[in-house]
């Protein structure tokens, strides 16, 4: 079934952070959790329940996929499962980033935020 990226918007903040986390590399659950925590300077802490509920939904929606092989097989626990952003997932993440960018621009235009240098 064809999905338009815009139909997923706006994304829940947890979902967006997970997609961002998978944008540059494939990761397992714990790695996603750590990445999100680091990038948000500890402001967003995903619990195992929130993380895997989101992963389940993203898998069902086809925004991420599970990898058949582990990318770092030698240095990793073989029981871990890795996830990758799908093409659709990347489009959705980009669409959400653009939406946020537009929001930011609107906020600047109204004087809510200072103009960019």
């Amino acid at each position: 079934m064809e999905y338009r990226a815009d139909s997923f918007l706006p994304l829940h903040k947890d979902t967006f952070h997970i997609l961002v986390s998978l944008a540059d590399r494939d990761r397992h659950g714990y790695s996603i959790m750590q990445d999100v925590q680091q990038r948000t300077a500890g402001k967003l802490r995903l619990s195992p329940s929130t993380l895997y509920a989101a992963i389940k939904r993203l898998l069902e929606q086809g925004l991420i996929e599970e990898l058949a092989e582990r990318p770092d097989a030698d240095h990793d626990d073989e029981r871990r499962r890795y996830y990758r952003l799908t093409e659709l997932g990347r489009e959705v993440a980009q669409a959400e980033a653009r939406r946020m960018e537009q929001l930011l621009a609107d906020a600047r235009a109204c004087g809510l935020l200072p103009q960019e240098a």
Partner: protein
């Protein structure tokens, strides 16, 4: 050694059980790992605590969402699946709706009458005291006022005793004269029961004394009906039977032991005027803390024994028995009826569950392939089981909702069918406890009918499905067969029970009341004491009224009596043959008594056996008495002719027997006719008398002319409780009729379901064995042999069910015995007749589907293989 920073993940893993099984299977292990990783990476105890807290709140937040998501997915799938098999779904929903609806209706009756507590404080401590006279089998009698006072003074097992008696009164002064039911109570009765007046107060002890009783309370119903809910009624004066009474309070209409009373007056007993033989007071008591019913009973026995010794003439032989308030209000017979009905409808529900389970088993075989494919695609067995249970729940929920609709309709109908005076049905309806019950049985049925089929279906594997498409089958399935045996057994029990009740009802309706109820109209007249202060005033009223009524066109005869036959009311007194206690001829006996005017016996159509009825020329000095045949036999068992003999009563009065009449079933059609004496109305008139007229045409058409006749004599005098005698007789059998009707409906449904069950098993067997049967026919078996072989399977199951049912009915019969009239619970004729009928029904149920077996085309069937 365990790393001290490594968490014990068992608790977290236990929390994961809150998730649906498939989610847990998919992500549980990883979630535990992630939790463990985070915990180990934490730098401080506070951080670790925070991680545990986040994990806990995360699970508590997400697990219900996952459960809901899986449930909604399963429900959608279930609805799709059910819509694909509309005939199965329709049959199952209708079966469930009928069973759940019927069970809900009967439960709401049970709840309203028995399970709901009486509106008293600590109702389980309230008891009714009945006077008894064992030698005569009197077990439910009222007390005399002096006895009531003696109980109050001497019994140690009660904190308090209160008494009441009922009478009809006339309200005048505020608008039209109005008839009202009044209950006369001791001042402590309302506080003893813990009932709070809605307005004002209850009676004070000083208002319960002769000469100080000019107060009254009114019921909420009268408060609304006559006084438009004007709170200013409290403190105002109303006229009750012509006397002024100040209203001091308004009581709830439903008082637990009375719902009809509209006026409450103080008893104010005048012991100087009361005597111990005059039993008219109903006594209630509250058990003292620390006293059990048995303890209080033992103490009351002591009091009765003392009174018997002190007052041998009035109290010798009399005892008292305690009955819990609920048993008294609802009555043993009605309680038994309710338990029999709820058990029957429960059995019907079981039969319905068995039927649906059978349908599901058939469906499960058809879905085996689907299940195998889903398992092959990775669905776990738990997942499949959950899916099937959800389907069952969806089915049960639809059936439950439809059942509730049916129950609402059924309750509306039942309220119209319930006999007048059925206790505690004022709150009958689909209230929250009943809805909760309906919800509970809906869930319970979904488990009952669905668990085993779902379990069996989820056991299928791809291999078994592949194997299934193989050769022949025996068509046997032990679970299905047990279900059919159970269904037939239950249906047999219900049909036997119904047949016994039907026979009992038929005999009850055939039982002769001892008079001719057709073409008789009865109505009550209550003469207010203020306007008719003496017997002469009352006698003068009736002397004018009766000729006026007799002269009405269409009236063939008329009379008055102190009570309507079969009304359930009674008065009794001791009586002995001979002119007085000095005569040693006979020991005294207890007999019912009635006051009747000349013409009353002729109006009722009571048979004159010997002597004569009363006449207008009888005078009070002659003290004439008519007695029933039963009393004549008791007083003169040696066959002495009672005519012209004398009897003396417990109060010392002597009467002369002038006539003997046939026995009348005054206590009800199902009761033995009491030994009865009839006194002439010139002897005494009650404040309330019953006017009876025999008409040549429709008796109800005479109600208007009768009212006019009464008004011509006293314009303030209302006529109330106007009914035909036929109605009263029919009302006496209304309860057994309703009970039997409901049982018959349940039994019929159970029988249809049972027969369908047998039929279904045979049809299933034919379908599964079609190749084997085709092969047998191809090898030369005749159609008769093939049909016989198929019928034997179903027939033997039905026979087994029938045998189990007959044996169970024999064992369970004793529960019905108190509801049966002139029928034995193990009546051999009923058992044989019903056994034979059910056998024919079972064979028919097998024969219809077995015809399919002989229609199998061997060539076509074997080619398909």
């Amino acid at each position: 050694m365990r790393n001290p920073q490594k968490p014990n993940s068992a608790l977290f893993r236990a929390l994961l059980w809150l998730y649906p099984a498939d989610f847990r299977d998919e992500y549980g292990r990883e979630m535990s790992m992630v939790f463990s990783d985070r915990y180990c990476a934490a730098s401080s105890g506070g951080e670790r605590l925070r991680i545990c807290f986040e994990a806990l709140t995360g699970v508590l937040k997400e697990a219900p969402r996952e459960q809901l998501s899986t449930l909604s997915q399963d429900v959608r799938y279930a609805l799709r699946t059910l819509s694909k098999t509309p005939s199965f779904s329709f049959t199952a929903v209708v079966t469930l709706a009928l069973a759940i609806g019927a069970t809900t209706v009967i439960f709401s009756l049970l709840h309203a009458m028995l399970l709901r507590p009486l509106p008293f404080q600590n109702p389980q401590r309230i008891v009714r005291i009945f006077n008894t006279f064992q030698k005569l089998g009197i077990t439910n009698f009222t007390a005399s006022v002096p006895d009531f006072v003696s109980y109050q003074q001497r019994a140690r097992g009660f904190t308090e005793l209160g008494g009441f008696t009922s009478r009809a009164v006339t309200l005048t002064g505020d608008g039209q004269p109005d008839h009202a039911e009044a209950t006369v109570i001791s001042a402590n009765l309302v506080p003893m029961l813990g009932i709070q007046p809605l307005l004002g107060r209850a009676f004070l002890p000083e208002e319960d004394k002769p000469g100080h009783a000019q107060v009254a309370m009114i019921s909420e119903g009268l408060f609304e009906r006559r006084y438009g809910r004007d709170a200013a009624i409290v403190g105002r004066t109303i006229r009750v039977d012509g006397h002024a009474h100040t209203v001091v309070g308004v009581l709830p209409q439903q008082m637990g032991f009375s719902s009809k009373a509209e006026v409450w007056l103080p008893l104010a007993p005048d012991l100087a005027k009361e005597n111990r033989s005059n039993h008219y007071l109903s006594v209630l008591a509250r058990l003292k803390p620390g006293f059990s019913l048995q303890g209080a009973q033992a103490d009351l026995n002591r009091v009765c024994s003392e009174l018997g010794k002190e007052f041998p003439g009035s109290n010798g032989g009399w005892g008292a028995r305690l009955v819990p308030a609920l048993d008294w209000v609802v009555g043993r017979k009605l309680q038994t009826s309710l338990w029999v009905l709820i058990s029957s409808v429960g059995l019907l529900l079981l039969v319905a569950c068995a039927n649906i389970a059978n349908l599901l088993l058939t469906r499960a075989s058809a879905r085996r392939e689907e299940m195998s494919v889903r398992m092959a695609l990775g669905a776990s067995r738990a997942r499949l089981l959950r899916q099937m249970l959800t389907e069952n729940l969806v089915l049960a929920t639809i059936g439950g909702c439809a059942g509730l609709l049916l129950a609402a309709v059924g309750l509306a109908g039942l309220q119209k069918l319930l006999p007048v005076g059925t206790p505690r049905v004022d709150t009958l309806g689909l209230d929250s406890p009943v809805l909760l019950f309906a919800l509970a049985i809906t869930f319970a049925t979904s488990i009952l009918f669905g668990l085993a089929p779902a379990w069996l279906a989820s056991r299928s594997t791809l291999n078994s499905a592949l194997r299934q498409s193989g050769r022949t089958h025996s068509g046997r399935n032990p679970l299905r067969q047990s279900l059919v045996v159970g269904q037939m057994a239950i249906a047999t029990v219900l049909v036997i029970g119904t047949a016994l009740l039907l026979q009992s009802l038929a005999r009850l309706q055939d039982s002769q009341p001892g008079f001719r109820p057709d073409h008789v109209l009865v109505a009550s007249i209550s003469l207010p004491e203020g306007k008719y202060p003496t017997q002469d005033h009352a006698a003068a009223f009736y002397r004018r009224l009766l000729p006026e009524v007799q002269a009405l066109p269409g009236v063939t005869s008329a009379g008055v009596a102190s009570m309507t036959p079969i009304s359930g009311d009674d008065t009794s007194m001791t009586v002995a043959a001979g002119p007085g206690p000095s005569q040693p001829q006979e020991k005294p006996r207890q007999a019912s008594w009635r006051i009747i005017s000349p013409g009353a016996m002729e109006t009722l159509g009571v048979k004159l056996v010997r002597g004569r009825f009363f006449s207008q020329s009888d005078t009070p000095d002659q003290k004439p008495m008519v007695i029933s045949e039963g009393l004549a036999r008791r007083l003169w068992p040696d066959g002495t002719d009672p005519l012209q003999q004398q009897v003396h009563l417990g109060n010392g009065q002597v009467f002369n027997i002038v006539g003997i009449v046939g026995d009348v079933r005054h206590a009800g059609l199902a009761e033995e006719p009491p030994a009865t004496m009839y006194m002439h109305s010139s002897w005494y008139l009650w404040p309330t008398m019953v006017l009876m007229v025999r008409t040549s045409g429709d008796p109800l058409a005479m109600a208007g002319p009768l009212r006019e006749a009464v008004r011509r004599i006293d314009p303030d005098q209302p006529l109330f409780a106007v009914r035909t005698m036929s109605e009263i007789v029919a009302a006496d059998t209304a309860q057994p009729r309703l009970r039997t009707g409901l049982m018959a409906a349940f039994a019929l449904l159970a029988l249809i379901l049972g027969a369908l069950g047998v039929s279904g098993v045979v049809a299933y067997g034919v379908a599964r064995r079609s190749r084997e049967l085709a092969l047998r026919m191809a090898l030369g078996a005749t159609p008769g042999q093939v049909q016989g072989s198929v019928m034997r399977t179903g027939g033997s199951l039905a026979l087994l069910g029938l045998a189990v049912g007959l044996a169970s009915a024999l064992g369970l019969g004793r529960f019905l015995s108190s509801l049966l009239y002139q029928v034995q619970p193990n009546d051999p004729v009923t058992f044989s007749a019903i056994g034979a009928t059910l056998l024919v029904v079972s064979l028919l149920a097998c024969w219809v589907p077995s015809r399919r077996a002989v229609r199998i085309d061997p060539a076509a069937s074997l080619r398909n293989e």
